[in-house]
Symmetry: D2
Subunit: 330 residues, 4 copies
Amino acid sequence: MLNIGLLGAGRIGITHAKAVLGVPNAKIAAVYDPVDAAADAAVALTGAKRATVAEIMNDANIGAVIIATPTDLHADQIELAARAGKAIFCEKPVDLSAERVRACLKVVEETGTKLMVGFNRRFDPSFARVHAEIRAGNVGDVELVQITSRDPGAPPVDYIKRSGGLFRDMMIHDFDMARFLLGEEITEVFATGAVLTDPAIKETGDVDTATATLRTASGKMAVITNSRRATYGYDQRVEVHGSKGMVQAENHRATSVTIANGDGYTTEPLLDFFMQRYADAYRFELTTFCNMLNGENVAFPSGHDGLKALELADAAVQSLKTGAAVKPGA
Amino acid sequence: MLNIGLLGAGRIGITHAKAVLGVPNAKIAAVYDPVDAAADAAVALTGAKRATVAEIMNDANIGAVIIATPTDLHADQIELAARAGKAIFCEKPVDLSAERVRACLKVVEETGTKLMVGFNRRFDPSFARVHAEIRAGNVGDVELVQITSRDPGAPPVDYIKRSGGLFRDMMIHDFDMARFLLGEEITEVFATGAVLTDPAIKETGDVDTATATLRTASGKMAVITNSRRATYGYDQRVEVHGSKGMVQAENHRATSVTIANGDGYTTEPLLDFFMQRYADAYRFELTTFCNMLNGENVAFPSGHDGLKALELADAAVQSLKTGAAVKPGA
Amino acid sequence: MLNIGLLGAGRIGITHAKAVLGVPNAKIAAVYDPVDAAADAAVALTGAKRATVAEIMNDANIGAVIIATPTDLHADQIELAARAGKAIFCEKPVDLSAERVRACLKVVEETGTKLMVGFNRRFDPSFARVHAEIRAGNVGDVELVQITSRDPGAPPVDYIKRSGGLFRDMMIHDFDMARFLLGEEITEVFATGAVLTDPAIKETGDVDTATATLRTASGKMAVITNSRRATYGYDQRVEVHGSKGMVQAENHRATSVTIANGDGYTTEPLLDFFMQRYADAYRFELTTFCNMLNGENVAFPSGHDGLKALELADAAVQSLKTGAAVKPGA
Amino acid sequence: MLNIGLLGAGRIGITHAKAVLGVPNAKIAAVYDPVDAAADAAVALTGAKRATVAEIMNDANIGAVIIATPTDLHADQIELAARAGKAIFCEKPVDLSAERVRACLKVVEETGTKLMVGFNRRFDPSFARVHAEIRAGNVGDVELVQITSRDPGAPPVDYIKRSGGLFRDMMIHDFDMARFLLGEEITEVFATGAVLTDPAIKETGDVDTATATLRTASGKMAVITNSRRATYGYDQRVEVHGSKGMVQAENHRATSVTIANGDGYTTEPLLDFFMQRYADAYRFELTTFCNMLNGENVAFPSGHDGLKALELADAAVQSLKTGAAVKPGA
């Protein structure tokens, strides 16, 4: 039995705890959250005991932790857990500073810790299938990746200020997806951006609409478009062109219903946001983490992947300032 | 050069004349229509001379006629043309009386005349492709044909009275399509019907909504649904199930545009009616007729096919009265 | 807390037990299954105790039973539970004999028992949405219902022999769906059928391919097509035409992926069978049952609905024999 | 009657001549082509006389010319026709040198000539509908345009050498489409490119796979992706996001047929190339030209539009060299 300590019992922590409930041979054994109501809910759901971070780190029966606390605690808690010999699942990002991430990953490496970073979209059945088709050679050599990612609405300005901005908070998922699908490191990033949906965002220095164009050493390309606005739901699509053909994942809907009348044929809007669209992905993500710890040989997004995506986001921010392509990680 | 006499220069006659304009080695050489304006328009379009039926039949340079006159003239004009040695394209139906059709086809047979009946849908690129996939064996042995056919609105009650009713006027196309796709003669017809769209239709003794279930000797089945009402455009679909799979033809639209907002994703209504939806089909139909006369070995709907479809319509009418399955042609 | 006794811990019983796990204020308290392995698995899953049917019926703390035993036990167990004052969820069918069902429902009625019958498809999100659109008036008055239902493959001949045949075992779901969507009782049934997929089925006296045409007093119609064969997955579609428009539910797939190359654009086959396609439906079905017992005012398929569907199946069997439309329940 | 002189009777010249055949009150009156076979075919099709360029320019009965000659003749022939007082339809591009185009347009302006440039895609029914939806305000303020344009295969290397390269020959259509849909001038162009399909293209100095990101003064963006390879047909899509929603035009196919079996659901590849996909667009384009000359108040792509698209292409070439965003027309 794999005993897991849950750090952070907010919405995403609870989502992960529910996923663990469905995994045989794994359970949430201890819950840490400074907010009583959150901790109590997680305890009621899982039957785990409530504990402090230190108690979890010192508990020899606990083999792994799920870090779902606020972003600024991630790197410290990863280091604590790594030194305590726990395997780690950490929500993205590891940190908003690439330098801090590098220092943290050094601890992970030195301690030989298994660290999985929460790039949940890799586990979405449709995107995972796209990846599998590519790896099976069914589109030939990849030439061009196109990713469309639009949120139904912008988060509160307060959140945006703390988030690191659109490139580090939102497009970082697409940067990871681009790396995942290209299968080759990105050597050049060009980004554009503007505030088109809400002037309040302008005051934070961030953008709400953006594009990024990525290039690899061999000339493969990826184009990403992002917006904080989509009136028709949470728009999440990828399309990959290769020498033998094309593979694409279309959006998901709650039902397959169409209604037709004199106005035309209408299907419902898309699933509203990430908790709905990626419900399966979150489940498969934690199942993979547990299976990996139970000895299964599975691929998973690592701390290195987290760092690479952050470097791409940093390069995009820099490109936006300079109007020129930027080499990531430089 | 194939010289053709056009009998009847109404909307459908003009459609056929335009199709002939696009065929090399064929032309409309003479036009008959008692209405001056109609005849004049056809003459202006084609450069043909205006003529009487007798003049056309007696003109040795005219090798074929297109009969697009009112239904009650079809059989007589087929017989005239057959005896005059002309090849014949005749709009469906040959006649509303199966007995009259049989007599007419006897003349056609005795004179060795080539007679093509205007089941235009066989020439629709999508339906023709469905047929080709079946004949190529790509769905295996056919088991079940499903045909959905709905008009955007009912014709005037005056038309309905003269039309022979929904089964002989509208569903007759679907009976022909069922035979075309089943590839085996139908031995049993069951029909239901009701007046659901317009009470005025009830007074004509006709129905406006109907179904028919067909069965062949080997147990293959076809299900047809018809309605005189479709608020979303002219609904024309076929679907064929076989031992190896399924092939279907979806509706056609004028554009491929979708618009999305908080109400969902909306595509435009279907093409409005048969002149739009079957524009290509009408063109390919006449091209096939001309090609056949120019010696090409092509399949085409014959007078026999016209008779068979009418027998199925008659059986449906009879089934509607009796509530039991009826053997067609009996 | 609603304590539930589970009768029958086979595949479908376990599915229902899992659904109950996700319902707050409800739990499986006791499990009956004569097969040790089945009972043990259900006990392990739910934490319930193992018990005999009599113990469950006599346990005053148990307020409801889920009957998921073989069909021939359903009616007896419904009567036992009704007399013991338990609310009942029973898998369809109540019995294969309409007479037996009527006797059983008399007991249900006399004892004032709440009985829900497992027509799971009413709880499928897509079909439920179709129903909701109709009830909201968005397609106007219903005129025609079209239901396509095809299994990926035939069950073993042994199963077919005990099943009551295609109309009572398979199409019974579609008869219920037709009643659900038409919103008016069916007064006439016409059916056709044949053995097209496997000659072994012929020897059982059953068919493997069938159609049914239904008619209500006001002239509304429904057309159902069924087959035991669909090479492309479990085909489950409904389409409803009304005076104002059309609403349809298309098939479901595991992913939204399309791959394109010189052969065209290909999407994956459909979900394989009912446990996959109706996973959500089974969950919502049991949730509805529990919510109803916890006082919520919800619609659910009753014993009366079970009887009506069986009468339609019996009428279809009779129609197949006679070649004429049959009045159900007569 | 509008008499038109046709300069150049190659494939595209014949396409335009056929379009004119369908326009009332307009006809091809004279044909120039130095190749006898080409000129003869055009004469046979249209009934026009064969003539030299000078004869056409001097013929007072000819009110307009269609220039469908090789690109390097366009600017000179535009100037000739402008000075001769003819209205002009000219295939794109006006010239491969922006400087030459500017000089040519000066003559057009000074002579008050009506000049339409052949950006045929503006007349595609689907793209025209997208434009109309935007202009009707149905997607609100435009924020982002995404254009995917992929040829089924690369042209011969000889053609590529003369073509001006991918940006001036192929993506120029997308630059025009981006301007058409954005409704605001583009102030910044960033481009990437690579040779991924055929090493022979590398030797010409051109690329075969490319992206461009465009930006307007107000922050609207457009992203274009191009490839000389698409195994599944001629891929032509646009998608426009605005404050109120999204509008997209999907690809076109010859039929609406889908075939399903154990491999999934397959629809046919796309129409093969521009002559098929844009057949309607070519027809509507020339109809618009004739209607405009017959006094109708219609919008059309002008010489100025031709120049602007070329400036964007030049900027893209420059950006590819420098790795930085470039201001077009600078």
